[in-house]
């Protein structure tokens, strides 16, 4: 009886987590394409390839983490009640969702950082010649 509740928990947890990861990374990298095009200044093949590689990394990290925290430990002489199951599941799914949100913001931060760096590089290239002209 106790074991069957834990297995029900796994069966609820796994689809939710995997669907959430796939949806979030699909959305993140559909929108990240514009950043990548901006960072690589319109070199489309490199931008799309980098985007794809980032996406694969995102999948691997998040699904790996989701599987790592799958295990439900329950030590008690009493059989697990459905209330306990709901509480354990809520801890796991809520925690994973917050983790995923933080990963999303970290990725967004990387996008902004890359965009700023590439802008700075561009500005330096365009600025130096005018500066030299003024010196003359």
């Amino acid at each position: 009886m106790e074991n069957s509740k834990i297995i029900i928990g796994y069966l609820i947890y796994l689809p939710i987590v995997i669907v959430l990861t796939i949806y979030v990374s699909k959305m993140l990298f559909k929108n990240g394409k514009y950043f990548m095009l901006d960072i690589f200044k319109g070199k489309e093949d490199i931008a799309l390839a980098t985007n794809k590689l980032f996406e694969i990394g995102f999948y691997l990290i998040n699904i790996g983490w989701a599987l790592l925290i799958l295990k439900i430990t329950y030590y008690s002489s009493k059989a697990m009640s459905s209330q306990t199951l709901i509480e354990i599941l809520s801890k796991k799914i809520g925690g994973f969702s917050i983790y995923l949100g933080i990963m999303l913001f970290i990725n967004l931060f990387f996008f902004f950082r890359g965009r700023r760096k590439s802008r700075q590089a561009q500005k330096m290239v365009t600025k130096t010649p005018t500066y030299n002209v003024q010196n003359k």
Partner: protein, 117 residues
């Protein structure tokens, strides 16, 4: 059925509705600010806005769900109402603090942009 599960079934729809509505408001009205900050670069602003909305939903719904794990045992209807209002209040106040923080940051960004020009 215990009172706890009843409380959860009341709590979850309320929190979901509040968060989705608030997030949607931020999404539609924040776009104007972002447009100013990013000099009307429409595809970029759209994508930033989408990502911010998704991150907001993930973190907030995650927090809303995770409070279930730490709920005290409920034994009567008045206690149920007490705990419900307490948890809802914490989340709504947290949302409002985040919101004011956001507005201040956006205001600051828009001002610094307009000063530079």
């Amino acid at each position: 059925m215990s009172y706890n599960i009843l409380t959860y079934t009341i709590y979850l729809p309320i929190i979901a509705v509040i968060m989705v509505k608030v997030g949607w408001r931020f999404y539609t009205h924040g776009e104007v600010f972002l447009m100013h900050v990013f000099q009307h670069n429409t595809p970029l602003v759209k994508s930033i806005n989408n990502l911010l909305l998704i991150g907001y939903y993930l973190v907030n719904l995650g927090y809303g769900i995770i409070t279930l794990a730490y709920w005290e045992t409920v034994e009567s209807i008045p206690q149920m109402l007490n705990t419900l209002s307490e948890h809802l209040g914490i989340i709504i106040i947290g949302l409002s603090l985040l919101h004011y923080n956001n507005v201040l940051v956006l205001n600051y960004l828009v001002k610094s942009k307009t000063l530079k020009q």
